[in-house]
Symmetry: C2
Subunit: 222 residues, 2 copies
C-alpha cells in the first residue's frame, strides 16, 4: 500500500517502478513561487527539471526588437521539459517562464534526472512524450502564425483564455503579445467583434456575449 504522492498527478509517472518512485520522491524538493515571478529566463537558467503541481506558467519569447510572443503554457500535471533542454544549456535562449498564478512544483536536480532516464523505461517514455508533444505543438504554432488569419486566432485565444468564464481579464496589449501582433491590431479586431455583438469591453476586461459567434469564427482552423 502506497500513500498518495505528487507523482500521482502525472499520468505518465503513475506506474513507475517502486525504486524509481522512491528515488524521485527522496531527491526532489517541493518549491513554490508567487504569481508574477520569473521561473526561468535569460540569465536565470534553472538548475532543476520542474514538475508543475499547481498553477500555470506562461512561456514567452522576448525578441531583440522588443516584440514579445507567448509560446505556450504549462499547466499542473505537465513537466517543463524545456527547462530540461535548458539544463543542457545549448545556448541561452531568449524565452522566459513566468508564473501566471501562485505555483507549486517538484524540482528534480539535473543528475537525478539523468539517473532516472537511465534506470526507468517508463520515465524515458514520459520524457520523450513530453518533448514530442512540445515539438508538434510548436509546429502547429508556426503554422498558425504564418498562415492563420488574425481574427480567427484572436477568437480562438479569447475562448481559451476565458476557460469557460464569461469575462477575460486582460488588456489589448496582453492579447497582442498572446498573438505576436500589435496592440492597435487587437483593438481594431475587438471593435469589430463588439460591433457584431460578440463581446463587450471595459478597461482591462473583455466580456463574451456570444460564445457561439466567436466559436464559429475560431473554428475556421479545421
Amino acid at each position: 500500500m502506497q500513500t498518495e504522492t505528487w507523482l500521482d498527478r502525472f499520468a505518465g509517472l503513475a506506474r513507475l517502478e517502486p525504486p524509481v518512485r522512491d528515488l524521485l520522491l527522496s531527491r526532489s524538493a517541493i518549491i513554490a513561487a508567487p504569481a508574477g515571478s520569473v521561473i526561468f529566463g535569460p540569465g536565470k537558467s534553472p538548475e532543476n527539471m520542474l514538475f508543475l503541481l499547481d498553477g500555470v506558467v506562461r512561456v514567452q519569447q522576448v525578441s531583440e526588437s522588443g516584440h514579445d510572443i507567448v509560446l505556450y503554457r504549462i499547466t499542473a500535471g505537465e513537466s517543463c521539459v524545456l527547462t530540461t533542454a535548458c539544463l543542457l544549456a545549448y545556448d541561452d535562449y531568449a524565452a522566459e517562464g513566468i508564473a501566471e498564478t501562485d505555483v507549486q512544483a517538484a524540482a528534480v536536480p539535473r543528475d537525478v534526472f539523468d539517473e532516472l532516464v537511465a534506470q526507468s523505461k517508463s520515465f524515458r517514455n514520459f520524457v520523450f512524450a513530453a518533448f514530442s508533444k512540445r515539438i508538434t505543438d510548436l509546429f502547429l504554432m508556426i503554422d498558425e502564425v504564418a498562415f492563420q488569419r488574425l481574427d480567427v486566432r484572436l477568437a480562438d485565444r479569447l475562448l481559451k483564455l476565458s476557460g469557460g468564464a464569461d469575462t477575460v481579464a486582460t488588456t489589448h496589449q496582453k492579447l497582442a503579445v498572446e498573438l505576436g501582433t500589435a496592440r492597435e491590431v487587437v483593438s481594431r479586431q475587438l471593435q469589430e467583434f463588439q460591433r457584431r455583438g460578440w463581446i463587450s469591453q471595459a478597461r482591462g476586461a473583455v466580456t463574451l456575449q456570444d460564445r457561439a459567434g466567436i466559436l464559429k469564427l475560431a473554428q475556421h482552423h479545421s
Copy 2:
C-alpha cells in the same frame, strides 16, 4: 585501435563507450534514398531513428489550407531527433522529410535507441542536446516568422541556400515555401533586389551579383 566507422562523423558520438559503440554499429543498418524521395511523412512514420551520413533532408510542414513552409534542414552529421519524437507517435504530425539530395543514413531501431539511452550517458547527452537545439531553433523561427520583415528573411535565405555559390537554382514558388509566404510576394521582392543590382534572374535561377548588399540587409537580424 579502432577502425573508422560512421560514428566518427558525429561529434557527439565520438567518445561513446566501446560496448555502446558496438551495440550501435551492430544493430544499425545503412540505408540510402534517392534525391526527392520522402523519408518520412504523414502516414509514413519511420520505424527507425536516423543518423544522416550524407546528403540533406528538408523538413517541411503541409498545412490543411495547402500552405507549405520549410521548418528546417538536417545535414550530414546530424540526427533526426524528430523521427525519434515521431517514433513515440504522439499523433501523426503534418511534417514531412524530403531528401534534397541522394541520402545515406544509419537507421537505429526503436528498441535499440531506447537501450542506448538507458546505457550510455554520452548518448543521452547527444540526444538531449539534439532536442534542445531543435527546440531553440524552432523558437527562433517563430520569432522570425512573426516579426521579421520579409525582405530581410529573403535576403538571409538566399545567402544560406547559395552555400557560397554564385547562383541559387530555385523557383519563386520554392522560395515562397521556404519563407511561408506567397509566390507573388517573392517575385516582387526579387524584382526589387534586381532593381538594386543585387541579383539577376533567369527562369529557375537567381544569381547573386552583390553579396555584400544582400548581406547588409540580411544582417538586420542582429
